[in-house]
């Protein structure tokens, strides 16, 4: 077994195991930290797919951004802090559904004639330049629309969080 295969299996095991821990741990803080390892693992798997840019953004956005936000959200809201998200009573139906979906997906995955890119095993080349070119040429429209989408999300966040003066306050605020 080559070194890269050993590293791959370590990464894959860590990803799957920590993914399991996220849903099975009783303390939500521990779940959050397990999620951190999952994100790292997925980033590592992207490297193995020669998707260097994707791997870097995965680490930057998920580990650097999303994870921090999750931790902040948990720590700032004391009510959620001690809540267990693990429901023992729902294990059996959950396992049944998951098992069913998993069997179908695995069968399809193994049987399908996936399109393998030629030269996938060759030396890894940086993808950033190609991605940049594509974003500003072929995919300019979706790229621009995504910026509008972010604007909509921003406006929405401001609208929902902003405190109104002279408003009656009933119920919980979003």
């Amino acid at each position: 077994m080559e070194l890269k295969e050993i590293i791959f299996f370590i990464l894959a095991t860590a990803t799957v195991l920590s993914g399991w821990l996220v849903v099975s741990l009783k303390n939500i803080i521990h779940s959050a930290f397990a999620l951190l390892i999952t994100f790292f693992g997925v980033g590592g798997l992207f490297v193995y797919l020669s998707a260097d840019f994707l791997a870097a953004t995965q680490i930057l956005i998920y580990v650097g951004g999303v994870m921090i936000l999750v931790l902040f959200a948990i720590m700032l809201s004391e009510k959620v802090y001690n809540v267990s998200i693990f429901h023992a009573s729902k294990i059996l139906p959950g396992l049944l559904v998951l098992g069913g979906v998993q069997v179908v997906l695995l069968r399809v995955m193994i049987e399908s004639p996936w399109r393998i890119r030629a030269g996938a095993d060759s030396v890894m080349r940086p993808t950033t330049e190609i991605l940049g070119g594509l974003l500003l040429n072929e995919y300019l429209l979706p790229f621009e629309v995504i910026s509008v989408l972010l604007l909509a999300a921003l406006i929405g966040a401001v609208v929902l969080i902003r405190k109104e003066v002279k408003r009656r306050r009933e119920g919980a605020c979003l």
């Binding site: 179908v104 995955m109 399109r115 429209l141 629309v145 509008v148 909509a152 609208v159 929902l160 009656r168």
Partner: protein
């Protein structure tokens, strides 16, 4: 790799989108410098922008332009839908103004976000690339999540927003998973390339799974059974004007993308997905109508009725061909009039705090205000599909298409369902005309709302008596994609 300046695309071809986006930004900016509380001007600006975009779409419908934007088609088909979106948006803005002031949430951002949602719908209708369609869908969805929770101090509105957000992102995930599988199989996201690859390949489990997952993503947006569980709660909890918007625009947009994706990219798999949609269609019609019978809240009733209408529309989709698809387009146009109109009357009766949402609140409306009772009568008859309203013409063409294309039994199921639905629509009419009013209903009449209701009634009766003009428009639109 050499980088060259991309050619500047023909901006005239995307004029409707640009107008809607600019209006949205303008509304946002003017809102900042304007006096607080007075939002009527902003609503008017938004409506004017939509009207202008609609006119441009109509011009483009008659003279389609070739465009060099990859993944974006400016064909008559897309323009037909854009006119529906602009019309629906305009009507929703009209019924919102006074309602929002009464409820104390008169914010300029509301109109801005509605316009952004319409932009997303327009992009969905024009997209010929799965990435473009997905980004448009998300733009629309995110705007709707915000709008659903717009009454942020009402627990029900909060619940609606959270529910819609969670289930909506889950369905987007499934949709993306389907896109990923199509990409893994064909190596492209462009619909015509996928169509070419799919036509040559044999039917594999992966392809079937891709079709099912993308179908599930769309089925969520059109609120088809069994992906409808969010609909009643979200429709009930959201501000009524937003519910009116949600029940028309997103449904039409999802159908626009659904028809384009399935008939172009997966056109060769027609037999397989027709079976899928026959099952969905029957389940949707039956569940929607049967559950609607038992509702006491008018918004919930209209939610189930909108589920049932998605079922009728799918009958047209199953029938397919020029006849089936053009009857769907016609029906969506009519549906915009009658559904937004019905919600407009609900807003008319609305009093702060959810009173006016019960079907019982309609009791004796004809004695309080003859005009508003008559208007509601027209909408209910049209939703039930009784001549001479447009609802009859719409259903007639859909079921005729099903019969002509060999789905007689499906048309029979549709007609039977339509008969069942008459019960709960007529119940509202009965309350209005035959029951004595309880506590005196207060009507929130405003000029904008009356104007919109008038437009809707005139539209319904005009299309009901002369469906030819709209149907011809729908036919020419459909020929551009088939």
């Amino acid at each position: 790799m050499t980088l060259s300046m991309p050619p500047i695309p023909n901006l005239h071809a995307i004029a409707p989108e640009i107008i809607v986006l600019l209006t949205s930004l303008l509304v946002l900016l003017i809102d900042l410098i304007q006096l607080r509380g007075k939002k009527g001007g902003l609503a008017f600006l938004g409506a004017a922008g939509l009207a202008l975009a609609g006119i441009f779409s109509y011009k483009l419908l008659q003279h389609p332009l070739a465009t060099d934007i990859p993944g974006f088609a400016v064909d008559a088909y897309a323009q037909f839908f854009k006119i529906i979106f602009c019309l629906a948006g305009l009507m929703v803005i009209g019924i919102s103004v006074r309602y929002l002031t009464l409820e104390g949430f008169s914010l300029g951002e509301y109109y801005s976000i509605i316009l952004l949602a319409i932009l997303g719908q327009m992009i969905m209708a024009s997209g010929t690339h799965l990435l473009v369609i997905y980004v448009g869908l998300e733009l629309m969805a995110i705007s709707l999540y915000i709008l659903a929770g717009f009454f942020k101090h009402h627990p029900k509105s909060n619940e609606a927003a959270v529910k819609y957000f969670l289930l909506g992102s889950f369905s987007s995930g499934i949709f993306l998973y389907g896109i990923m599988m199509a990409y893994g199989l064909t190596g492209s996201l462009d619909l015509s390339v996928i169509a070419g690859k799919v036509a040559g390949a044999e039917l594999t489990g992966l392809l079937l799974l891709a079709v099912i997952m993308m179908g599930a993503g769309f089925a969520f947006k059109i609120a088809a059974v069994p992906f409808h569980f969010w609909t009643p709660d979200v429709y009930e909890g959201s501000p009524t004007s937003v519910t009116a918007f949600m029940s028309v625009g997103p449904k039409a947009a999802a159908f626009a993308a659904l028809i384009r994706v399935f008939s172009s990219a997966f056109g060769t798999l027609r037999v397989e997905w027709t079976t899928l949609f026959i099952c969905l269609s029957i389940a949707t019609m039956v569940t929607g109508n049967l559950v609607a019978l038992r509702q006491t809240n008018i918004k919930r009733m209209l939610a189930y009725s909108s589920i049932a209408h998605a079922g009728y529309l799918m009958v047209g989709f199953v029938a397919g061909g020029e006849l089936g698809i053009s009857s769907m387009l016609l029906y969506l146009r009519i549906y915009a009039f009658m559904n937004i109109g019905a919600f407009g009357v609900v807003i008319l009766l609305n009093r702060v705090g959810g009173i006016g949402d019960r079907i019982d609140d309609f009791a004796g409306l004809s004695k309080v205000s003859r005009a508003s009772a008559f208007v509601m009568l027209v909408f209910m008859l049209s939703l039930a599909g009784i001549p001479p309203t447009a609802g009859f013409a719409g259903k007639f063409y859909i079921f005729m298409a099903a019969v002509k294309n060999g789905y007689v039994w499906l048309a029979v199921i549709g007609v039977l369902n339509s008969a069942v639905s008459a019960y709960y629509y007529l119940r509202v009419i009965m309350r209005m005309y035959m029951v004595e009013p309880g506590d005196e209903p207060v009507l929130n009449v405003s000029t904008a709302l009356s104007a919109i209701l008038l437009i809707a009634v005139v539209g319904i009766i005009a299309i009901g008596i002369f469906p030819g003009f709209c149907l011809d428009l729908a036919r020419t639109s459909v020929t551009s994609i088939l």
